[in-house]
């Protein structure tokens, strides 16, 4: 994937990666995304949290799949042969975020991004803002926080069994 323009701290346009999820448009910082892939057959992991439906191999690399719908208490994102996932790097974690559809890069003026709603449940907990572009409203996810929260909720205390 071509590198987007770097985000601009001066208030000009910022680049986001936009996808469809939970029946709506969501976006996150574009540099987090390295690739969009068609999801291969999943290998389920025993005793895994629901939001981790399995792993799959892509070009010889094993990648974990993250279902944001299940993490935030909605239903699972349907996985079909046509399902695509965005491979993202969030700190030390590399995960494939399963989507209902991929729009790609969108440019949103930073000044057009408003604070997220005060609601702190469901996916709203992970929003960093709400913006608008020509296609309509897009909710901006704080993806690194979401991924880190997923990990923390999976193994709340003491880490994996010794």
């Amino acid at each position: 994937m071509a590198d987007p323009k770097p985000t601009d701290a001066t208030g000009a346009d910022a680049w986001y990666f936009c996808l469809r999820l939970l029946g709506a448009r969501y976006a996150f910082e574009a540099p987090l995304v390295t690739e969009v892939v068609r999801l291969g057959p999943l290998t389920r992991l025993p005793a895994a949290p629901a939001f981790l439906p399995g792993v799959f191999t892509h070009r010889g690399e094993v990648l974990p799949v993250l279902d944001i719908g299940l993490l935030v208490g909605h239903g699972a994102v349907p996985i079909r042969a046509s399902t695509r996932a965005a491979i993202v790097h969030c700190g030390p974690w590399k995960v494939a975020v399963v989507t209902e559809g991929v729009e790609g890069l969108v440019s949103i003026p930073r000044r057009a991004i408003e604070p997220p709603p005060a609601e702190s449940s469901g996916v709203a907990e992970f929003l960093s803002g709400v913006g608008r572009d020509r296609a309509g409203t897009v909710a901006v996810l704080d993806l690194p926080r979401l991924v880190e929260t997923a990990r923390a909720r999976a193994v709340p205390a003491g880490g994996p069994a010794a």
Partner: protein, 132 residues
């Protein structure tokens, strides 16, 4: 030049086939003569349908042996080391069990690679809570 290979033991628990490094298994046999206390009937891999066969596993220190009850020992395969992949860091960090350590590509199908000593040790640690 010969490609480095790993010897992998294939075994079935419930409906799934898993893989383990061969040298983690001390021996394979029937479980009927094994003391109930030394059996691992249910683990992070689930529960077997029956209790006929077992894989005897030594602890990491080699001090104790326990028998993991399985439905079937499928066999031993030699696989190129390149076909053995570690579990991704995020997946490993999200699993309660540390016994699943990676995947083995076998005939283009991925099988979970299991650390048998860790699997039976986790069960030993969990057992007192279950019986409390």
């Amino acid at each position: 030049m010969t490609e480095p290979t790993s010897e992998i033991l294939l075994f079935q628990v419930g409906a799934r086939v898993f893989a383990a490094v061969v040298h983690d298994a001390v021996r394979i046999g029937a479980v009927r003569d094994v003391s109930e206390d030394d059996l691992v009937l249910e683990s992070a891999l689930g529960a077997p349908f029956g209790r006929e066969r077992g894989i005897v596993v030594a602890s990491h220190e080699g001090a104790t042996e326990r028998t993991l009850v399985v439905d079937q020992v499928v066999g031993v395969r030699s696989v190129p080391e390149a076909d053995v992949q570690p579990l991704p860091a995020f997946a490993a960090a999200c699993l309660v069990s540390g016994a699943v350590t990676g995947l083995v590509m076998l005939d283009e199908a991925p099988l979970l690679l299991v650390d048998l000593p860790t699997l039976v040790r986790e069960r030993s640690l969990a057992a007192p809570e279950l019986t409390a």
